[in-house]
């Protein structure tokens, strides 16, 4: 099937809001090249489970495409039209399985040496769309908070090395009540700027007491979901003929209820959690990977104004088969290795935050939990410097966002 042949009945399997959106824009959608449209449908098909910011972005993208003049449309999509695909790909059910189509398209682009052309087309499209869409200003500057090193009593290697050039390193911070103060700061921002999914608390271990105004995801609370997923993956792996692609397809088609998540919670958040486990690599077995990837995905998708992540020790490395089978009960932890993981995770947290709107004004704070070391990046603070100011974590947040 080619986009020009699309009919409303082709979208009957889409959930209600996604279907309505497609039908509202079906004329514009029919004009899009088959090398481009599945990427858009991959987002649209999950519209019902998207965060508000994602929905707004899809809405704006479709309305922008629909208002392009013929010459603009040619300019925007000609690079995609120039990419050839196989008839096998054309025949693929990209309407109902756009993600799987993109995976196969990617392999085809590699093998036909068109990947670079596709990358350029996609990058140029993104830049054009970005230029055409205006975003309202943020109600407050974005703030990232990372807490690393839980359970480490001493560590001699310098921390925050990748971040130091961008901010001020504090070596006399008062660590008392640090977690509570940072959670209180996040809650205060949530109260002052009540945006749906706008303020997050991610914990790589057990979540601490926190305000209900924060969207919370924790490794420990998701233990039943993780265990169910690993059990399900094990049973799939043992099936004859099961290969990597089949497993990915199987995981992509899972719903939260398949892993025992009830419908009582927030459906959007439950789907987010599911994807953390089914799309993240290592999130099922390592708490540090879980915290890093959840932070990345929350920033990328929900674009929160506040995101506090607290890393916790992961289990020690064991043979991959053993990790996946989830055998055994209490596993030995690796606090120092986890601190190294988290130090890098904090760096990625800042990078991912800087990809978002308002990055020039955003602030970031990372603290070595229980210790006097922290680093703050903010437009009001000097870069590549050190401070011996004796502040508590609450005062440090105030300094970051002042």
């Amino acid at each position: 099937m080619l986009p020009r042949d699309l009919q409303p009945e082709n979208f009957t399997s889409y959930l209600p809001e996604a279907r309505k959106l497609v039908l509202d824009y079906i004329e514009a959608i029919r004009q899009l090249p088959v090398t481009f449209l599945p990427s858009l449908l991959r987002e649209v098909i999950e519209y019902d489970f998207k965060f508000p910011t994602e929905r707004a972005a899809i809405d704006k993208e479709l309305s922008t495409i629909a208002t392009l003049s013929p010459s603009q449309a040619k300019e925007w999509f000609q690079p995609f039209q120039s990419i050839s695909i196989s008839s096998k790909l054309e025949d693929f059910d990209w309407i109902n399985s756009p993600a799987q189509f993109i995976e196969q398209l990617s392999a085809y682009l590699w093998s036909s040496h068109q990947l670079d052309a596709f990358r350029k087309a996609a990058t140029d499209y993104g830049a054009r769309l970005h230029g055409a869409v205006t975003q309202p200003p943020l109600p407050t500057r974005r703030l990232g908070l990372a807490i690393i090193g839980q359970g480490v009593s001493s560590y001699e290697v310098p921390l925050f090395r990748s971040l130091r050039a961008h901010g001020t390193y504090f070596n006399q911070i008062k660590p008392e009540n640090g977690l509570r103060l940072l959670l209180a700061a996040a809650a205060s921002r949530a109260e002052a700027h009540p945006v749906p999914f706008g303020h997050w608390y991610v914990d790589g271990g057990a979540e601490a007491e926190h305000s209900p105004l924060l969207t919370c995801v924790s490794y420990q609370a998701m233990q039943p979901m993780r265990a169910a997923l690993l059990k399900s993956m094990q049973s799939q792996i043992e099936r004859p003929g099961m290969g990597p692609e089949q497993l990915r397809t199987y995981l992509a088609r899972m719903s939260p209820s398949d892993l025992g998540a009830g419908d009582a919670g927030n459906a959007v958040l439950e789907h987010f959690k599911l994807k953390i486990l089914t799309e993240g690599s290592g999130t099922q077995i390592f708490a540090t990977t879980f915290a890093q990837w959840t932070t990345r995905e929350a920033l990328r998708r929900a674009e929160p104004l506040t995101l506090l992540v607290r890393f916790a020790p992961r289990q020690r490395q064991r043979p991959m088969n053993e990790l996946l089978s989830n055998a055994g009960g209490n596993h030995e932890l690796d606090p120092k290795g986890s601190l190294v993981d988290a130090d890098m995770g904090a760096y990625y947290h800042w990078i991912n935050q800087q990809r978002l709107q308002g990055y020039e004004q955003s602030a970031f704070l990372v603290w070595f939990e229980g210790h006097s070391q922290a680093l703050v990046i903010a437009p009001t603070l000097p870069r590549g410097t050190q401070s011996s100011s004796s502040l508590d974590l609450g005062q440090l947040v105030d300094l970051a966002v002042s």
Binding site: I237, S281, G282, F286, Q317, P319, N321, D334, Y348, R355
Partner: protein, 304 residues
Amino acid sequence: MVPQSSFFTHVTNQGFLGHYVATASLTTGVYETLNNFSAVAPEHPTVFEYFRKDLKRPASDTWVVAPSNGFNRIGESDCRSYGPGTGATVILPKHLLSAATSRGAADFDHLLRDNYENPLYTPQLGGGEFELQQLDGILRLSVADFMAHARTLSSPDELSIYIAKRLMQQEAPSLLWITMHDIDVAHSGAYSLYIEGIRRTDRLCAELWKAVQENPEYAGNTTLFILPDFGRDSDYDAGGNGFQHHRTGDAASRTTWMMALGAGVREGVIFNDPMQSIDLVPSLGAIMGFSPTQSQGKPIKDLL
């Protein structure tokens, strides 16, 4: 090792960024397009086939030691004028250990862990690989000794280096290819484990070079090439997740390095001119005296 080497700072891989297909491309000098997760032979002749055919060398003169079952077909191509029986024997140490372990109770899981990128994929072996019963005949190593030594090792790559050194002692092949895989733990997302893997690989490469110096068959007449198959995604590419994967196809994931050291190589020289990973095979051909006619790479001028 760097001060002893000619170091190439800009090696690019323009092919698929999967470990098996990229390594297959390194062996053929052609960007192969085979399915990374299938146990299939490279489409084009491998360096082992060129070497044996042109120089009329026996099978015992070239070997591959590879980490994963997925590499068991890398020793020879499906090419009609070369193909089965004309390439290298592939030793899969983990496969050997697994076979040995099945004979008696032992816990070698830490050495048997397979593909980090996709733990699901552990293909059935399809012939051509070195089998357990050959341990004694070729490596002069009893199963009991093999297992006893394996107990002292901590990773699959350590097992591979142990087997490689044993091969050097017993068979002294002229062309020995070793692929190492511990670093791929990066796919689990744990940065500390990735760094640990890099340090271990670094140490093992030095151990291998030391073994070369200490073996009279190799000392003074051996050239060692060390190179990654490709890079990893940039921290700054929004499509990736930094060190964890190699999926974006960005410059960082395609760019890596190579060092050459030993016989015929200038010491302490750094070359910044770009080269491609498929240039390795024609360079080996120029050094060793065979003609990789189907390779699409070019001999590295700075090396020769």
